[in-house]
Protein backbone atom coordinates (compact mmCIF):
# COMPACT_ATOMS: atom_id res chain seq x y z
CA UNK A 1 0.00 0.00 0.00
CA UNK A 2 1.31 3.44 -0.88
CA UNK A 3 1.91 5.60 2.21
CA UNK A 4 -0.69 8.13 1.10
CA UNK A 5 -3.43 5.64 0.20
CA UNK A 6 -6.64 6.34 2.13
CA UNK A 7 -6.95 2.99 4.02
CA UNK A 8 -3.31 3.24 4.99
CA UNK A 9 -3.76 6.74 6.42
CA UNK A 10 -6.86 5.58 8.28
CA UNK A 11 -5.14 2.56 9.86
CA UNK A 12 -2.02 4.57 10.61
CA UNK A 13 -3.97 7.19 12.59
CA UNK A 14 -6.15 4.62 14.34
CA UNK A 15 -3.73 1.86 15.34
CA UNK A 16 -0.09 2.27 14.34
CA UNK A 17 0.32 5.86 15.46
CA UNK A 18 -2.60 5.96 17.87
CA UNK A 19 -2.98 9.56 19.02
CA UNK A 20 -3.11 8.76 22.72
CA UNK A 21 -0.81 5.78 23.05
CA UNK A 22 1.90 6.57 20.52
CA UNK A 23 1.83 10.34 20.02
CA UNK A 24 0.85 11.37 23.57
CA UNK A 25 -1.98 13.61 22.45
CA UNK A 26 -5.13 13.97 24.51
CA UNK A 27 -3.78 12.35 27.67
CA UNK A 28 -5.96 14.76 29.67
CA UNK A 29 -9.42 13.29 28.94
CA UNK A 30 -7.81 9.89 28.48
CA UNK A 31 -6.92 9.75 32.18
CA UNK A 32 -9.86 11.85 33.32
CA UNK A 33 -12.91 10.27 31.69
CA UNK A 34 -11.74 6.67 31.39
CA UNK A 35 -13.14 5.46 34.70
CA UNK A 36 -16.36 4.01 33.24
CA UNK A 37 -17.20 2.67 29.79
CA UNK A 38 -20.60 4.40 30.05
CA UNK A 39 -18.96 7.83 29.85
CA UNK A 40 -15.83 6.84 27.93
CA UNK A 41 -17.69 5.83 24.78
CA UNK A 42 -19.79 9.02 24.33
CA UNK A 43 -16.78 11.14 25.21
CA UNK A 44 -14.72 9.37 22.56
CA UNK A 45 -17.43 9.78 19.95
CA UNK A 46 -17.93 13.47 20.80
CA UNK A 47 -14.19 14.03 20.41
CA UNK A 48 -14.19 12.09 17.13
CA UNK A 49 -17.00 14.31 15.84
CA UNK A 50 -15.16 17.51 16.81
CA UNK A 51 -12.06 16.10 15.12
CA UNK A 52 -13.95 15.54 11.88
CA UNK A 53 -15.40 19.07 11.86
CA UNK A 54 -12.14 20.77 12.82
CA UNK A 55 -10.22 18.76 10.26
CA UNK A 56 -12.60 19.95 7.52
CA UNK A 57 -12.44 23.58 8.71
CA UNK A 58 -8.67 23.46 9.18
CA UNK A 59 -8.29 22.32 5.58
CA UNK A 60 -10.35 25.26 4.32
CA UNK A 61 -8.64 27.79 6.60
CA UNK A 62 -5.18 26.63 5.64
CA UNK A 63 -5.98 27.01 1.94
CA UNK A 64 -7.44 30.49 2.58
CA UNK A 65 -4.51 31.67 4.73
CA UNK A 66 -1.95 30.42 2.21
CA UNK A 67 -3.84 32.25 -0.54
CA UNK A 68 -3.87 35.45 1.58
CA UNK A 69 -0.21 34.95 2.52
CA UNK A 70 -0.88 34.99 6.27
CA UNK A 71 0.42 31.61 7.48
CA UNK A 72 1.32 32.99 10.93
CA UNK A 73 -2.38 33.34 11.73
CA UNK A 74 -2.85 29.57 11.30
CA UNK A 75 -2.57 28.60 14.96
CA UNK A 76 -4.98 31.27 16.21
CA UNK A 77 -7.59 30.49 13.53
CA UNK A 78 -7.41 26.74 14.20
CA UNK A 79 -8.02 27.15 17.91
CA UNK A 80 -10.95 29.48 17.30
CA UNK A 81 -12.59 27.00 14.92
CA UNK A 82 -12.09 24.15 17.38
CA UNK A 83 -13.62 26.20 20.19
CA UNK A 84 -16.66 26.91 18.01
CA UNK A 85 -17.05 23.23 17.06
CA UNK A 86 -16.89 22.21 20.71
CA UNK A 87 -19.56 24.77 21.56
CA UNK A 88 -21.77 23.17 18.90
CA UNK A 89 -21.30 19.66 20.31
CA UNK A 90 -21.92 20.94 23.82
CA UNK A 91 -25.26 22.48 22.85
CA UNK A 92 -26.22 19.32 20.97
CA UNK A 93 -25.42 17.00 23.90
CA UNK A 94 -27.15 19.30 26.39
CA UNK A 95 -30.30 19.29 24.26
CA UNK A 96 -30.41 15.56 23.44
CA UNK A 97 -29.12 14.00 26.66
CA UNK A 98 -28.95 16.10 29.83
CA UNK A 99 -27.85 13.03 31.82
CA UNK A 100 -24.85 12.50 29.59
CA UNK A 101 -24.15 16.22 29.74
CA UNK A 102 -23.90 16.06 33.52
CA UNK A 103 -21.82 12.86 33.45
CA UNK A 104 -19.21 14.38 31.16
CA UNK A 105 -19.15 17.59 33.20
CA UNK A 106 -16.15 19.85 32.77
CA UNK A 107 -14.53 17.47 30.27
CA UNK A 108 -16.96 18.42 27.52
CA UNK A 109 -15.92 22.09 27.20
CA UNK A 110 -12.35 20.95 27.83
CA UNK A 111 -12.36 19.18 24.46
CA UNK A 112 -11.24 22.61 23.22
CA UNK A 113 -7.91 22.21 24.97
CA UNK A 114 -7.59 18.56 23.96
CA UNK A 115 -4.28 18.56 22.16
CA UNK A 116 -5.36 15.61 20.01
CA UNK A 117 -7.66 17.90 18.05
CA UNK A 118 -5.23 20.76 17.50
CA UNK A 119 -2.54 18.14 16.87
CA UNK A 120 -4.67 16.54 14.18
CA UNK A 121 -5.16 19.89 12.43
CA UNK A 122 -1.44 20.68 12.64
CA UNK A 123 -0.29 17.24 11.48
CA UNK A 124 -2.57 17.22 8.45
CA UNK A 125 -1.24 20.66 7.50
CA UNK A 126 2.35 19.51 8.04
CA UNK A 127 1.87 16.42 5.87
CA UNK A 128 0.02 18.43 3.19
CA UNK A 129 -2.93 16.04 2.99
CA UNK A 130 -5.64 16.81 0.46
CA UNK A 131 -9.31 16.79 1.44
CA UNK A 132 -10.11 13.01 1.26
CA UNK A 133 -6.82 12.22 2.98
CA UNK A 134 -7.59 14.70 5.77
CA UNK A 135 -11.00 13.11 6.24
CA UNK A 136 -9.54 9.58 6.42
CA UNK A 137 -6.92 10.84 8.86
CA UNK A 138 -9.39 12.53 11.17
CA UNK A 139 -11.80 9.55 11.09
CA UNK A 140 -8.96 7.19 11.98
CA UNK A 141 -7.69 9.46 14.72
CA UNK A 142 -11.18 9.85 16.21
CA UNK A 143 -11.89 6.12 16.22
CA UNK A 144 -8.41 5.41 17.59
CA UNK A 145 -9.02 7.87 20.41
CA UNK A 146 -12.39 6.25 21.21
CA UNK A 147 -10.78 2.80 21.12
CA UNK A 148 -8.02 3.80 23.53
CA UNK A 149 -10.52 5.45 25.88
CA UNK A 150 -12.85 2.43 25.95
CA UNK A 151 -10.01 -0.08 26.41
CA UNK A 152 -8.62 1.97 29.26
CA UNK A 153 -12.07 2.26 30.86
CA UNK A 154 -12.45 -1.52 30.71
CA UNK A 155 -9.12 -2.04 32.45
CA UNK A 156 -9.92 0.53 35.11
CA UNK A 157 -13.36 -0.96 35.76
CA UNK A 158 -11.70 -4.25 36.64
CA UNK A 159 -9.06 -2.55 38.77
CA UNK A 160 -11.72 -0.74 40.77
CA UNK A 161 -12.58 -4.05 42.44
CA UNK A 162 -9.09 -5.02 43.60
CA UNK A 163 -6.98 -3.41 46.26
CA UNK A 164 -3.81 -1.65 45.14
CA UNK A 165 -1.10 -0.04 47.29
CA UNK A 166 -2.19 3.36 48.58
CA UNK A 167 0.64 5.25 46.89
CA UNK A 168 -0.30 3.99 43.43
CA UNK A 169 -3.88 5.24 43.53
CA UNK A 170 -4.96 7.88 41.06
CA UNK A 171 -2.81 9.21 38.26
CA UNK A 172 0.25 7.00 38.91
CA UNK A 173 -1.71 3.79 38.35
CA UNK A 174 -3.42 5.30 35.31
CA UNK A 175 -0.07 6.08 33.75
CA UNK A 176 1.34 2.61 34.38
CA UNK A 177 -1.79 1.09 32.82
CA UNK A 178 -1.47 3.41 29.84
CA UNK A 179 2.14 2.30 29.49
CA UNK A 180 1.08 -1.34 29.22
CA UNK A 181 -1.66 -0.48 26.73
CA UNK A 182 0.85 1.51 24.72
CA UNK A 183 3.21 -1.48 24.77
CA UNK A 184 0.42 -3.64 23.37
CA UNK A 185 -0.34 -1.10 20.63
CA UNK A 186 3.27 -1.15 19.54
CA UNK A 187 2.49 -4.59 18.17
CA UNK A 188 0.57 -2.85 15.38
CA UNK A 189 3.77 -1.25 14.12
CA UNK A 190 4.28 -3.90 11.44
CA UNK A 191 0.76 -3.50 10.09
CA UNK A 192 1.62 -0.89 7.49
CA UNK A 193 4.31 -3.02 5.90
CA UNK A 194 6.98 -0.44 6.69
Amino acid sequence: MAPDALPRIFLDAMLINNFVLALFLGICPFLGVSTQIRTALPMGLATAFVMLISSLCAYGINALLLWLGLPFLRLISYIVVIAAAVQLVEMFVKKTSPTLFRALGIYLPLITTNCAILGLALFQTLREYDLPQSLAYSLGAGLGFTLALVLMAGMRARLALVSVPRISQGAALGLLLAGMLSLAFMGFAGLGGQ
Binding site: L31, C115, R166, Q169, A171, L175, L176, G179
Partner: protein
Amino acid sequence: MNTEQPLTADTFLAGLWRENPVFVTVLGMCPTLAVSNSVLNALAMGLATTFVLIGSGALVSLLRNVIPRAVRIACYIAIIATFVTVVDYLIQAISLRLYQALGAFIQLIVVNCIILGRAEAYASRHPPLASMINAAGNGLGFTLALLCLGTVRELLGSGSLLGIPLLGPQFAPWVIMLLPPGGFFVLGGWLLLFNWRQRKQGVKIPVAEVHRHGA
Protein backbone atom coordinates in the same frame (compact mmCIF):
# COMPACT_ATOMS: atom_id res chain seq x y z
CA MET B 1 -9.13 33.33 46.22
CA ASN B 2 -10.46 36.71 45.20
CA THR B 3 -8.18 38.69 47.46
CA GLU B 4 -4.72 39.53 46.23
CA GLN B 5 -2.01 37.71 48.11
CA PRO B 6 1.08 39.67 49.11
CA LEU B 7 4.17 39.16 47.01
CA THR B 8 6.45 36.73 48.84
CA ALA B 9 9.12 34.22 47.96
CA ASP B 10 6.32 31.65 47.97
CA THR B 11 4.78 33.30 44.90
CA PHE B 12 7.79 31.91 43.04
CA LEU B 13 8.58 28.78 45.02
CA ALA B 14 5.07 27.27 45.19
CA GLY B 15 5.03 26.38 41.51
CA LEU B 16 8.61 25.17 41.56
CA TRP B 17 8.16 22.43 44.12
CA ARG B 18 5.18 22.28 46.50
CA GLU B 19 2.57 22.76 43.78
CA ASN B 20 4.71 21.45 40.93
CA PRO B 21 2.40 21.46 37.89
CA VAL B 22 3.45 18.00 36.67
CA PHE B 23 4.12 15.97 39.80
CA VAL B 24 1.55 17.42 42.18
CA THR B 25 -1.36 18.82 40.18
CA VAL B 26 -0.77 16.46 37.19
CA LEU B 27 -1.26 19.06 34.46
CA GLY B 28 0.40 19.32 31.06
CA MET B 29 0.91 15.59 30.59
CA CYS B 30 1.04 15.56 26.79
CA PRO B 31 4.22 17.60 26.21
CA THR B 32 5.74 16.10 29.36
CA LEU B 33 5.51 12.61 27.91
CA ALA B 34 6.14 13.45 24.29
CA VAL B 35 9.33 15.49 24.35
CA SER B 36 11.10 14.04 27.38
CA ASN B 37 13.04 11.39 25.45
CA SER B 38 16.24 13.44 25.68
CA VAL B 39 17.55 16.08 28.07
CA LEU B 40 18.05 18.68 25.35
CA ASN B 41 14.48 18.37 24.04
CA ALA B 42 13.14 18.52 27.59
CA LEU B 43 15.13 21.66 28.35
CA ALA B 44 14.07 23.45 25.15
CA MET B 45 10.43 22.56 25.66
CA GLY B 46 10.53 23.65 29.31
CA LEU B 47 12.06 27.01 28.49
CA ALA B 48 9.68 27.66 25.58
CA THR B 49 6.73 26.93 27.86
CA THR B 50 8.19 29.17 30.57
CA PHE B 51 8.47 32.04 28.09
CA VAL B 52 4.85 31.63 27.00
CA LEU B 53 3.75 31.40 30.66
CA ILE B 54 5.53 34.61 31.64
CA GLY B 55 4.44 36.53 28.53
CA SER B 56 0.81 35.49 28.68
CA GLY B 57 0.77 35.94 32.45
CA ALA B 58 1.92 39.55 32.10
CA LEU B 59 -0.55 40.39 29.31
CA VAL B 60 -3.54 38.68 30.94
CA SER B 61 -2.74 40.47 34.18
CA LEU B 62 -2.46 43.87 32.44
CA LEU B 63 -5.80 43.32 30.70
CA ARG B 64 -7.54 41.74 33.69
CA ASN B 65 -9.88 44.69 34.18
CA VAL B 66 -10.60 45.10 30.47
CA ILE B 67 -11.55 41.54 29.48
CA PRO B 68 -15.26 40.77 30.08
CA ARG B 69 -15.74 37.70 32.29
CA ALA B 70 -18.04 35.91 29.84
CA VAL B 71 -15.48 35.66 27.04
CA ARG B 72 -12.34 35.50 29.17
CA ILE B 73 -11.29 31.96 28.20
CA ALA B 74 -11.42 32.81 24.49
CA CYS B 75 -9.36 35.95 25.13
CA TYR B 76 -6.78 34.01 27.15
CA ILE B 77 -6.43 31.44 24.39
CA ALA B 78 -5.95 34.16 21.78
CA ILE B 79 -3.23 35.78 23.94
CA ILE B 80 -1.52 32.44 24.54
CA ALA B 81 -1.69 31.51 20.85
CA THR B 82 0.01 34.81 19.99
CA PHE B 83 2.95 34.10 22.29
CA VAL B 84 3.20 30.53 21.04
CA THR B 85 3.40 31.77 17.45
CA VAL B 86 6.30 34.03 18.52
CA VAL B 87 8.13 31.13 20.21
CA ASP B 88 7.47 28.89 17.21
CA TYR B 89 9.14 31.32 14.81
CA LEU B 90 11.91 32.07 17.33
CA ILE B 91 12.97 28.44 17.73
CA GLN B 92 12.77 27.95 13.98
CA ALA B 93 15.19 30.87 13.59
CA ILE B 94 17.61 29.75 16.32
CA SER B 95 17.91 26.03 15.59
CA LEU B 96 16.14 24.25 12.79
CA ARG B 97 17.29 20.86 14.11
CA LEU B 98 15.71 21.46 17.49
CA TYR B 99 12.57 22.72 15.78
CA GLN B 100 12.29 19.49 13.81
CA ALA B 101 12.97 17.37 16.90
CA LEU B 102 10.16 19.06 18.85
CA GLY B 103 7.84 19.04 15.83
CA ALA B 104 4.24 20.06 16.32
CA PHE B 105 4.67 20.08 20.08
CA ILE B 106 5.88 23.69 20.07
CA GLN B 107 2.59 24.82 18.54
CA LEU B 108 0.74 22.51 20.90
CA ILE B 109 1.94 24.64 23.84
CA VAL B 110 -1.32 26.55 23.16
CA VAL B 111 -3.36 23.71 24.62
CA ASN B 112 -1.06 23.06 27.58
CA CYS B 113 -3.44 23.23 30.54
CA ILE B 114 -0.75 24.68 32.83
CA ILE B 115 -0.78 27.97 30.92
CA LEU B 116 -4.55 28.39 30.76
CA GLY B 117 -4.73 27.26 34.39
CA ARG B 118 -2.26 29.94 35.52
CA ALA B 119 -4.02 32.63 33.47
CA GLU B 120 -7.38 31.75 35.00
CA ALA B 121 -6.30 31.01 38.57
CA TYR B 122 -3.55 33.57 39.10
CA ALA B 123 -2.86 36.18 36.41
CA SER B 124 -6.49 37.28 36.11
CA ARG B 125 -6.48 38.25 39.80
CA HIS B 126 -3.03 39.63 40.47
CA PRO B 127 -0.87 42.58 39.30
CA PRO B 128 1.58 41.99 36.44
CA LEU B 129 4.79 41.62 38.48
CA ALA B 130 3.35 38.98 40.82
CA SER B 131 1.83 37.15 37.84
CA MET B 132 5.15 37.06 36.03
CA ILE B 133 7.00 35.79 39.09
CA ASN B 134 4.37 33.13 39.69
CA ALA B 135 4.49 32.15 36.01
CA ALA B 136 8.28 31.90 36.15
CA GLY B 137 8.06 29.60 39.18
CA ASN B 138 5.54 27.35 37.49
CA GLY B 139 7.48 27.36 34.22
CA LEU B 140 10.68 26.36 35.96
CA GLY B 141 8.78 23.71 37.93
CA PHE B 142 7.55 22.32 34.62
CA THR B 143 11.10 22.43 33.21
CA LEU B 144 12.38 20.63 36.31
CA ALA B 145 9.81 17.88 35.88
CA LEU B 146 10.67 17.51 32.19
CA LEU B 147 14.36 17.27 33.10
CA CYS B 148 13.60 14.59 35.72
CA LEU B 149 11.92 12.51 33.02
CA GLY B 150 14.39 13.37 30.28
CA THR B 151 17.40 12.40 32.39
CA VAL B 152 16.05 8.95 33.22
CA ARG B 153 14.83 8.27 29.70
CA GLU B 154 18.00 9.43 27.93
CA LEU B 155 20.34 7.72 30.41
CA LEU B 156 18.59 4.37 30.20
CA GLY B 157 17.42 4.65 26.60
CA SER B 158 20.66 5.66 24.95
CA GLY B 159 23.22 5.53 27.78
CA SER B 160 24.07 9.20 27.44
CA LEU B 161 23.26 12.65 28.83
CA LEU B 162 22.99 15.68 26.53
CA GLY B 163 24.40 13.43 23.80
CA ILE B 164 27.58 12.61 25.77
CA PRO B 165 27.93 8.82 26.25
CA LEU B 166 28.26 7.99 29.94
CA LEU B 167 27.64 4.33 30.49
CA GLY B 168 30.38 2.92 28.27
CA PRO B 169 30.23 0.78 25.11
CA GLN B 170 29.19 -2.47 26.81
CA PHE B 171 25.91 -0.90 28.01
CA ALA B 172 22.91 -2.28 26.16
CA PRO B 173 20.43 0.62 25.78
CA TRP B 174 16.86 0.08 26.95
CA VAL B 175 15.23 1.16 23.70
CA ILE B 176 11.81 0.92 25.34
CA MET B 177 12.66 4.06 27.35
CA LEU B 178 12.78 6.16 24.17
CA LEU B 179 9.53 4.67 22.87
CA PRO B 180 6.08 5.83 24.03
CA PRO B 181 5.55 3.14 26.73
CA GLY B 182 8.79 4.23 28.39
CA GLY B 183 7.37 7.73 28.81
CA PHE B 184 4.27 6.43 30.57
CA PHE B 185 6.28 4.10 32.81
CA VAL B 186 8.88 6.69 33.85
CA LEU B 187 6.26 9.35 34.66
CA GLY B 188 4.21 6.75 36.54
CA GLY B 189 7.34 5.87 38.50
CA TRP B 190 8.07 9.49 39.40
CA LEU B 191 4.46 9.97 40.55
CA LEU B 192 4.76 6.87 42.75
CA LEU B 193 7.92 8.35 44.25
CA PHE B 194 6.19 11.67 44.93
CA ASN B 195 3.14 9.97 46.48
CA TRP B 196 5.37 7.84 48.67
CA ARG B 197 7.33 10.88 49.86
CA GLN B 198 4.13 12.80 50.58
CA ARG B 199 2.68 9.88 52.53
CA LYS B 200 5.79 9.63 54.62
CA GLN B 201 5.38 13.29 55.51
CA GLY B 202 1.75 12.64 56.39
CA VAL B 203 0.24 14.71 53.59
CA LYS B 204 -3.00 13.27 52.27
CA ILE B 205 -2.79 12.31 48.59
CA PRO B 206 -5.35 14.37 46.69
CA VAL B 207 -6.75 11.35 44.81
CA ALA B 208 -10.04 13.03 44.01
CA GLU B 209 -8.24 16.07 42.65
CA VAL B 210 -5.97 13.95 40.49
CA HIS B 211 -9.01 12.30 38.96
CA ARG B 212 -10.68 15.60 38.29
CA HIS B 213 -7.70 17.19 36.60
CA GLY B 214 -6.41 14.25 34.63
CA ALA B 215 -3.92 16.26 32.68
